[in-house]
Each structure stands twice: as structure tokens, then as C-alpha cells.
């Protein structure tokens, strides 16, 4: 058990290292003509960007390993991700300011996704091969094929045409106006959540069917336990363990989805910042967001792996 945790913790280090190299490289390999485009792009007279200044700011004038060392030192010792190329703000401040929006979007999406997928998946397994099971599976497969950006457009367009209803756009903080805050987030996170629920529902159903065939379920039935107890206490509890892993695997997809959804619904989160920075070719911002979001993904998966032994005793004693 202790070796499992230790092993898992140690495995994070090379992954983070490889990740940092990837993020670092993505900015260092910008071709020369892109730098020209970046110079041409900045028209702000205050931040006069010329080629030399830009190369110095990106650190392109030093050998590669020195650049990497400086970049890592800046992050680890000074907690800085650099400055925006065209405006004078620190990348880490802006990221911290925008993180709550993306976190709330993602968190609500996971909750909504689970609220749909778990009950449907369990019901579908318990009533295997009935009409309800068939309908649920069909909807899930269609859901897997539906692009979330298209779904979002449909949700914006058709209610507006039919009922004159448009989703609220102004983000208000939860502490000031909880209901208004939820109202802004509920539709975007529902779209993200439903996209996620299709695969979660399918896995829940498969796992539940697997568990229901086990000997201990037959034992529970033959002891004369009530159906609800057998299904919930003996079945669901065991079927949900792999689902937890799936949630970890879906976090990167969720992050990608939030880039799309934040842009369609004009939510001021990291995804929107990312796209704006990409359009401006503001690469310190881009690599900062990449590093933060990818680290969040790695940490989330680490966390899931670490709580896994508590959920599944079979892992604990291996």
C-alpha cells in the first residue's frame, strides 16, 4: 500500500518533466516568420515591440538549455510565468483571476454529467434489454457523436427563435447573486456535462452488468435481501470504482471542451483567454495556460489514483 502510493507519486515527476519540456518546446520552436507576424501585430505604441526585444523577451537569444533552466527557475522559485508580450500584465495573475470561471464550469459539468449518467447507466443495466435500456443506449451513442459546439449553437439559436429566450451573458459572482451565477453557468455546463455523460453512462452500465453476474450478487439474492439493497449496496458500490478512473480520463476532454464552450457563451475563463492569446500569438500566455491546465489534469489523475485503494480493497492488498 505504501509502496503503491510512493510509486505513484514518483511516477508524476518524469511526467511533469516531460510536460514542461513539451510546453517549453512549443514556444521555442516558433518559426521566424511567426515572429515577424508577431512584431507586425503589436501596434500598441507603449509596448513598442521590435524583433530584438521580442526575441529577448521570449529568451530566444540564449542557448536552449539556459532558456529552459531560466524558465523553470522562474516558475519554481519566483512563481512567475512571465509577462504578456503586448500588454504589461503578469501571466500568472491573469490565470489565477480567470481560473474560478473555468473551474466552476468544469465542476458543474462533472456534477451534471454524473447526475445524468449514473442513474441512467444503473437503471439501464438492471433493466437490461428492455425498451428503456434500448432508448438510453441509443441516446448515449448519438450523444457521443454530437459535437458539443454544435449542440451549444443549437441551444443558443432555437430557443431564441421560438421563445425569444437567450442565455444570460454577464457573469456575476456567486457570493453576490448565487441564483444569477448559477443561471449563467447552468446551460454551458449542462452542454459540457451531457457530452461527458454519454461515455460515463456506457461504462457504468457495462460495469454494473459485470458486477450483477458475480457470485456475491447471487448470494445476496439467495439470502433473500430486498432488490434495492442488492442493487445499491452490493451492485452499485462495486460498479462505480472504474467509473472514478473514467472521470479522471475525461478531465482533459473537459478542459478542451471548456475552450469551445467558453468561447460560444462568452464566459471569461481560461479557455477564452487561451483563444485570445492564440489569436494574438501571445505565446507566454499560451504556454502559461497550457502548463497550468495540464498540471491540473495530472494532479487530478494523481488524486484519483491515490484515493483508488480506499475505494477498492483489491488494489490495497496487491
Amino acid at each position: 500500500m505504501r509502496t503503491y502510493i510512493l510509486r505513484r507519486l514518483l511516477l508524476v515527476i518524469p511526467t511533469l518533466f516531460a510536460l514542461s519540456i513539451l510546453v517549453f518546446m512549443s514556444v521555442r520552436f516558433i518559426p521566424g516568420d511567426v515572429i515577424d507576424a508577431m512584431v507586425a501585430r503589436s501596434q500598441d505604441p507603449d509596448v513598442l515591440v521590435d524583433r530584438e526585444h521580442l526575441e529577448r523577451k521570449l529568451g530566444l537569444d540564449k542557448p536552449l538549455y539556459v532558456q529552459y533552466a531560466l524558465w523553470i527557475r522562474g516558475i519554481l522559485l519566483e512563481g512567475t510565468l512571465g509577462q504578456s508580450l503586448f500588454e504589461k500584465w503578469d501571466v500568472e495573475d491573469r490565470i489565477i483571476g480567470r481560473l474560478p470561471v473555468t473551474a466552476q464550469l468544469g465542476g458543474m459539468a462533472i456534477i451534471i454529467g454524473l447526475m445524468i449518467s449514473l442513474p441512467v447507466g444503473i437503471y439501464s443495466a438492471v433493466r437490461q434489454d428492455t425498451v428503456a435500456d434500448y432508448i438510453a443506449r441509443t441516446i448515449a451513442i448519438i450523444g457521443l457523436a454530437t459535437p458539443n459546439f454544435w449542440l451549444a449553437l443549437m441551444v443558443i439559436i432555437f430557443p431564441a427563435i421560438w421563445w425569444g429566450w437567450t442565455p444570460p451573458l454577464e457573469v456575476v459572482s456567486f457570493t453576490e447573486d448565487p441564483l444569477g451565477n448559477i443561471a449563467v453557468f447552468i446551460i454551458p455546463s449542462a452542454i459540457l456535462g451531457t457530452a461527458m455523460s454519454a461515455s460515463t453512462m456506457r461504462l457504468t452500465r457495462t460495469m454494473m452488468l459485470e458486477v450483477l453476474r458475480q457470485d456475491y450478487i447471487r448470494t445476496a439474492w439467495s439470502k433473500g435481501l430486498r432488490g434495492r439493497i442488492v442493487i445499491l449496496r452490493h451492485g452499485v458500490k462495486n460498479a462505480l470504482i472504474p467509473v472514478v478512473t473514467l472521470i479522471g480520463l475525461e478531465i482533459p476532454i473537459l478542459v478542451g471542451g471548456s475552450v469551445i464552450i467558453e468561447n460560444i457563451f462568452a464566459l471569461p475563463g481560461l479557455g477564452r483567454l487561451m483563444l485570445l492569446a492564440l489569436e494574438d500569438r501571445d505565446y507566454p500566455v499560451v504556454s502559461g495556460i497550457n502548463l497550468v491546465l495540464a498540471t491540473v489534469v495530472i494532479m487530478a489523475n494523481l488524486l484519483i489514483d491515490l484515493i483508488y485503494p480506499y475505494l477498492d480493497p483489491r488494489v490495497r492488498y496487491r
Binding site: 520552436f29 457523436a145 489534469v297
Partner: protein, 299 residues
């Protein structure tokens, strides 16, 4: 789980007879998958024949008929400069399918190179390569794709290479696993013991036996690749402006004229959903037939 792959390969050795037998099984055991496969074939045909069968050239403007709904003249209406939308969708199928198929094919090649080398050579090289793959896979896919696309620039070739390479690195895990499983087999050990050279071993023993895995990987990932192409284009980091691919159509005409002409946002999405649905069902059917042990959600 994967070690059984070798066994599914044995049996009928004549390629043509095997193909026909396979298609018969597909039709009998997986009618929905076969139906979806036929739809995809039809769509490929439409996209190849688009210049001959589309009602109008996709660039032809009819300025007097802007933003029209469906009619007998324009089956799916027209866009903001009066171009026939059905014709544009047909050409869009061309781009989506071509980009999707070639990126997925490239992805398979990359996955064989990365995963095959990693699994075959093993040892320290494997350890290092796998950590890089770890880092790559920890990256939220879309962020990575967006970043690379913004660096290499917009374009069909760019999107194919970027999606192919990144998909291949992701898929190399499975290839590596399959290669490692093959190395455990007696026929592999025997070949090595008899002094078979590495390249001959790979050609005669490794490649034929990972074929089912590769075909499965190919058919279950095309749908996702096509979805990525259109998501990138939707965000403005895929194909250059003006190309009639479904993602760009959704984000440009679709979003701009969504109140006056909602059909512009409706049809590309419907087309995408149907294509991805069919590719997913076809991929699932292929997987179930080629290797029942890898079976996923449905039973």
C-alpha cells in the same frame, strides 16, 4: 487481454476468401455496423463525385437568393451570398473525410513507429519514450492541437500532419502493448533463437500479428479525428477561411446569420453527427468482429 490476438489471425489463409467471409459475418452479426459502413461508402462516393453531382458549383453565388430556406431550387437553402448550401455540404464531406482518413492513416503509421520501437526494443529507450508519451497524453488534447496549429499555421496539410502525429502518439500505447504481448509468444522466441534478424522478425512476425489491433485502432478513431478537424476549424485554427468544411461553415456563416438563417448552423452539425455516429458504429462492429476480447460498452 491482447495476447490472444495472434490466435484470431490463424485460419483461412487466402486473402480474398477471408475478406469475403469477413464481410458476410459483418452483415450477419452486425447489421447496424454494416449499414453504417454502407452509408460511409456512399458518403465517400458523394465526396469523390461532388463536382459532378452537386446541384451547383460550391462557389457559385446567386445574390438575388441570399439566406433562403429549403426550396425545390435549393434543397437545403442558400448562405449569405447565395451559394447553394447542399453543394457546399457535399464539398465539405470531401474535406472532412479526406482530412479524417489521411490523418488517421498517418496516426496508425506513427503509432506503429513509436509504439513498435518502444515495445520491440524495450529497456531504457522504452522507459524514456513512454514518459514522453505520458507527458503528451496528460496534455488536454485540444489545447495542444490549438497551440501547434497556431504555430504551424492554417491549412489542410498542416491539420492532417498535426492530428496524425498527435493521434499516433496517443495510440502508440496500444501498439506498444500488442508488440510486448507478441514478444511473449513461443513463435517469436523461436524465430529469435533461430537467428532471425530484427527487421525480418518485425516483418514476418510482429506486423502481421498487430494488424487486427491497427485496423481496430484505425476504424474507431476516424470519428474522433473528424470531430477534431471540425472543432479546430470551428475555433478558427483549422482550415483556411473560405474552405467549405463543416466546422468552418458552423462558425462563420452559422454563427453570423443564426437568427435570419438557422439552417446554416443546423445542417453542417446534422451531417457531422450522422457521419461520426456511423463511423463509431462501424468501428465498434469491426472491433467486435476482429477481437471480441476488446469489446467495450455494448453487449
Amino acid at each position: 487481454m491482447i495476447s490472444g490476438v495472434a490466435e484470431t489471425q490463424t485460419g483461412n489463409l487466402r486473402p480474398r476468401g477471408r475478406l469475403r467471409g469477413f464481410l458476410t459475418r459483418l452483415g450477419k452479426e452486425k447489421p447496424l455496423g454494416a449499414f453504417c459502413g454502407c452509408l460511409i461508402l456512399l458518403l465517400i462516393l458523394v465526396s469523390i463525385l461532388a463536382p459532378y453531382i452537386s446541384p451547383y458549383p460550391y462557389e457559385e453565388m446567386h445574390l438575388e437568393d441570399r439566406l433562403q430556406g429549403s426550396s425545390t431550387k435549393y434543397l437545403l437553402g442558400t448562405d449569405h451570398i447565395g451559394r447553394d448550401f447542399l453543394s457546399r455540404l457535399m464539398y465539405g464531406a470531401r474535406i472532412s473525410l479526406f482530412a479524417g482518413l489521411s490523418a488517421t492513416a498517418l496516426g496508425v503509421v506513427v503509432s506503429v513507429l513509436v509504439g513498435g520501437i518502444s515495445g520491440f526494443v524495450g529497456g531504457k529507450l522504452d522507459l524514456v519514450l513512454q514518459r514522453i508519451v505520458d507527458g503528451w497524453m496528460a496534455f488536454p488534447g485540444l489545447l495542444l492541437l490549438l497551440t501547434i496549429m497556431s504555430i504551424v499555421g492554417l491549412g489542410l496539410l498542416q491539420i492532417i500532419v498535426v492530428l496524425g502525429v498527435s493521434g499516433g502518439i496517443g495510440g502508440s500505447r496500444v501498439t506498444r502493448g500488442a508488440v510486448i504481448a507478441i514478444k511473449e509468444n513461443d513463435y517469436f522466441l523461436a524465430a529469435r533463437a533461430l537467428g532471425s534478424r530484427a527487421d525480418a522478425t518485425i516483418r514476418r512476425h510482429v506486423l502481421p500479428n498487430i494488424m487486427p489491433i491497427l485496423i481496430i485502432g484505425f476504424s474507431i478513431s476516424i470519428g474522433g479525428v473528424i470531430l477534431s478537424v471540425s472543432a479546430l476549424s470551428f475555433l478558427g485554427f483549422g482550415l483556411p477561411p473560405g474552405s467549405p468544411d463543416w466546422g468552418s461553415m458552423l462558425s462563420r456563416e452559422g454563427r453570423k446569420y443564426m437568427e435570419q438563417a438557422p439552417h446554416l448552423a443546423l445542417w453542417p452539425g446534422v451531417a457531422l453527427t450522422i457521419v461520426i455516429y456511423c463511423l463509431n458504429m462501424f468501428g465498434d462492429a469491426m472491433r467486435d468482429l476482429l477481437d471480441p476480447r476488446l469489446r467495450g460498452g455494448e453487449r
